[in-house]
Amino acid sequence: MRLEDDTPIGDLDLAVIDRDGAVREAAQALHSRGDVLRGGLAAAGAIAAGLLLPRSAEAGELAGGDRSVLAYALSLEYLQDAFYTEAERVGALTGARRTAASVLGGVERAHVRAFQGLLGSGAPARPSFDFRGTTEENGAFLRTAVALEDLSVAAYKAQAPHIKAPAVLQAAVGIHSVEARHAAWMRHLVGVRPAANAFDEAEGRDAVLKTVASTRFIVRKTPRTTRKRSPRFTG
């Protein structure tokens, strides 16, 4: 499977995805950083097996900057988790795409659980998503996967130098390179060069969130109904 022949290698991004109408509408900055990151869903997930995150690092022990990076990373992992998990659930993909959705879904879910566990009650809640048909067809799925993975690589790359806790840094760089593997894998499946350049550039938080908002994949703010509340009366 190939993109249109005139697609310049290395320029596969959400603008390219837009071509088949999956994400046609103009960018709308519906979701400010606060919308994406705010929330109070208590983390149920334990730290994922095999993920090198510090068990001892309870929420309160992390510096504010690290917590902010982790909450931001979690918001991006929610997006990827939801995308692949929905593709699996819909069951419309075939062959290598089907396998990829299954493998990547498992990995992104593990990232989500790990970050939720690390952030504890300070973890942002999971938003609601509408992937606008991109989980239901091989071509749209792959192009969206490429864009999401490339974006994720650029996002982690920009955050890594700001992380203070060594264990969190180690986990972040280990995830960063895994996301790059995913990006290359999806690119190979879609038929564009897996490594477009000798250097991958970082992308800051505002630019990343603006791109995410432009997809309109996030359809609702933090669902308040899932917020855990203490009952006012008991007995």
């Binding site: 990995v107 990232h111 890594a160 960063h176 593997r181 995913h182 991958d200």
Partner: protein, 194 residues
């Protein structure tokens, strides 16, 4: 690109690195001590050594002309990337860059066997990813930021060659780091280091 050429090390050259003449510098263990300009130089000298192995390996394989199709494309593209990485690191280190050494590999045997080439290149790229990840905490933030622009490209190479060869491109939830000794062991196992 100018921004990229801006020296990775902002001041200080690390006489330690100059003293490390080997193909892969000694030391550079994970989380050794607080980041500093001299430690950055030491780490980058180690990284330069493995980038030279990659660059030299792909150049030698390309010269044999034995690989065809997508494997030949992989060698040409990735070899070009590795040369850029070497140039970048040499410029960053300046006079602190260790001397280049000839690579140790039976290149003809590898290039004559596409399956062996895939296994060797996959092991090499995986080891390089683990090498960068293993050094992340040893670098000052500004140096880590530049190194991070390379490591994800190495991870892309790893996934690409793995997918060509029918190996899982991304097997794990995270990429495990390796110490410099671990990297050297991994390279010895595939004959890229004596």
């Amino acid at each position: 690109m100018i921004t990229r050429r801006k020296i990775l090390i902002a001041g200080g050259t690390g006489a330690t690195a100059a003293a490390l003449g080997g193909l892969i510098a000694a030391g550079s263990e994970t989380a050794r001590s607080d980041p500093s300009a001299s430690q950055d130089a030491e780490v980058l000298a180690f990284i330069l050594g493995i980038e030279r192995i990659e660059s030299g390996f792909y150049a030698a394989v390309a010269r044999t002309g034995r690989l065809t199709g997508e494997l030949a494309e992989f060698v040409a593209i990735v070899g070009g990337h590795e040369r850029e990485h070497v140039t970048f690191l040499e410029q960053a280190l300046g006079s602190a860059a260790p001397k280049a050494q000839p690579i140790s590999a039976d290149v003809a045997a590898v290039a004559n066997d596409p399956q062996r080439f895939v296994r060797t290149a996959a092991a090499l790229e995986d080891a390089v990813v683990a090498a960068y990840n293993g050094q992340a905490a040893n670098l000052r933030p500004e140096t880590l930021a530049r190194a991070a622009t390379i490591v994800s490209v190495e991870a892309r190479h790893a996934a690409w060659i793995r997918d060509i060869g029918g190996l899982p491109p991304a097997e794990n939830t995270t990429d495990e780091p390796l110490t410099s000794d671990g990297v050297r062991d991994a390279l010895r196992q595939v004959g890229l280091l004596s």
